[in-house]
């Protein structure tokens, strides 16, 4: 217990003495984590948008005007037995017209003179996510088109896929940039700690000679690295949060409004904690690199 207190004191003394070097360490980690954090926020939000789209994604099957009740029943039955279909709703010609009118609010006059209702009845299909690949959808659409009484099939999957693959690319990019910056942070921390170790070389030598264990000698430096890393990551989170708030304010939005689909959020607590831990780990590892080489029995 006593020893733990001494180790903590030593670590704090080290940090105080590290001065500009220590601040540079913390700053580098903060900058790296801000960049990684930006990628994280963007990919996580875009990912949520894609998930939302996939959730809401539907295939619309337009029916021929002359479809008979038996044909309709058969089409419904055939479609419902398909594994790709999660849910199905039927919209009659009349309902479709009403909802179209609602959308045209104030400009109903446009519809005058059309005489007979021009809008077809349709089936809206919710599709299981596993079947939302372009290939599966093309096959499914082909199957639907061949059904008796089906006029046309409408789906707009391609751009959802494009966004999804953009998210994948961003994630990959973020990962590689993150790794590169993580390495840079590691080297900077390791260098700062190495200077701290050199500055205390005499003291370490004396500690060794009066019977300090390696763990005891190493621990303050390890802690120093972890604190630097943690502070860097914490600073990054603060900066990111500030920037996030400022962006929302600039765009006159409240959280959750971006894209209008319940996303546009900051990093959730789990990710924020993960970033802090990652910062501390980078610091600890950088410290170990420096101290490990220095010590002998």
């Amino acid at each position: 217990m006593e020893r733990l207190r001494y180790i903590l004191q030593d670590a704090l003394v080290n940090i105080r003495r590290s001065g500009w070097g220590g601040l540079a360490s913390i700053g580098t980690i903060a900058v790296s984590f801000v960049i990684v954090g930006i990628f994280l926020i963007i990919t996580r939000n875009l990912g949520a948008v894609v998930a939302e789209w996939k959730e809401q994604f539907q295939v619309t099957v337009f029916l021929e005007d002359g479809i008979t009740a038996e044909q309709l029943a058969l089409v419904k039955k055939r479609i419902q037995s398909e594994r790709a279909v999660r849910a199905m709703t039927y919209t009659s010609k009349e309902e479709a017209l009403q909802s179209f009118k609602r959308e045209l609010k104030g400009k109903e006059s446009l519809l005058e003179g059309l005489g007979e209702n021009p809008i077809p009845a349709s089936l809206q299909l919710r599709i299981h996510e596993a079947y939302q690949t372009p290939e599966a959808l093309r096959q499914f659409a082909a199957f639907l088109t061949r059904l008796e009484g089906v006029e046309d099939v409408l789906y707009g999957q391609e751009w959802v896929d494009r966004v999804a693959s953009a998210v994948r690319v961003l994630r990959l990019l973020g990962l590689s940039v993150g790794l590169a910056l993580g390495m840079a942070s590691l080297l900077i921390v390791s260098n700062t700690i190495r200077l701290a170790v050199y500055a205390r070389a005499e003291e370490i030598e004396i500690m060794r000679l009066v019977g300090a264990t390696k763990t005891h000698i190493r621990a303050p430096f390890l802690l120093e690295g972890m604190i630097q890393g943690g502070l860097g990551a914490g600073l990054a989170l603060l900066l990111l949060f500030g920037a996030y708030r400022a962006t929302l304010w600039q765009l006159q939005l409240t959280p959750g409004q971006i894209f209008g689909v319940g996303v546009g959020s900051f990093l959730d607590p789990r990710w924020a904690t993960a970033m802090l831990l990652a910062g501390a780990s980078v610091g600890a590892f950088g410290s170990l690199i420096s101290v490990g080489r220095f010590l002998r029995a």
């Binding site: 020893r3 001494y6 004396i206 000679l209 009066v210 019977g211």
Partner: protein
């Protein structure tokens, strides 16, 4: 307390620091290791607190074979030994108090106990009034006494002193020797390496003489 059996130490390029040393030091003894510089005195001391390994031979300290000691057991050995280094090894940018406190922090002694210990030892070496000074402001003799106090911080069974009278004039040398004698009188085994034959002669303690790494004389 200390037993050496056929101990050889050869550094790179066949520099023979110690050649076939056999030695037995009893618990509670006061022993001089005398000889000119380069005779192997410092090497001998460093072997005892396992700062170096012998090229061959066995060394027992307090019943333990330090040659076969695993790395993780070395700190434990060193905690039972006090060492006064030739160059003092004091931290120049710390106060005398901090220099001594370093030891109790390493040992994990609660700070209240540690502080009391520092105060007692500084009283013993007569430096209580300089506790907040840095070594810069102390004379050579005073620094030597700080080094002695630090070596006693862990209540060692064995005290090794490497040229404790190195740069001191005759009077101060005798002061330091008297202090080491007092420590020995309280039960600590004391081994002093020195080139100062006047001091050795005057004290008439058991003396082992090294020359070019060989044990050439032993008296009485």
């Amino acid at each position: 307390m200390i037993q050496l059996f056929h101990v050889y130490k050869t550094y790179a390029r066949d520099v023979e620091a110690l050649v076939d040393i056999n030695l037995h030091i009893q618990k509670g003894e006061f022993v001089f290791i005398a000889g000119p510089s380069g005779a192997g005195k410092t090497t001998l001391l460093r072997l005892i607190f396992r700062d170096e390994l012998p090229t061959s031979g066995q060394i027992l300290v307090n019943g333990r074979n330090v040659v076969k000691l695993p790395d993780r057991a070395i700190p434990h050995l060193r905690r039972s030994i006090g060492v006064i280094f030739q160059d003092f090894k004091l931290l120049r940018d710390r106060t005398i108090f901090d220099n001594l406190a370093l030891v109790y922090r390493v040992l994990g002694i609660p700070s209240a106990t540690g502080k009391r210990k520092v105060a007692n030892l500084l009283k013993l070496v007569g430096l209580s009034h300089k506790v907040q000074m840095t070594p810069y402001r102390l004379s050579g003799g005073e620094q030597q006494r700080v080094a002695i106090a630090r070596a006693l911080m862990n209540d060692p069974l064995l005290l090794l002193a490497d040229e404790p009278t190195g740069d001191l004039d005759a009077d101060l040398s005798m002061d330091v020797m008297r202090l080491l004698g007092d420590i020995n009188a309280r039960g600590t085994t004391v081994v002093v390496a020195t080139h100062d034959l006047d001091v050795v002669r005057e004290l008439g303690r058991r003396t082992i003489v090294l020359k070019a790494g060989r044990l050439v004389e032993e008296h009485p």
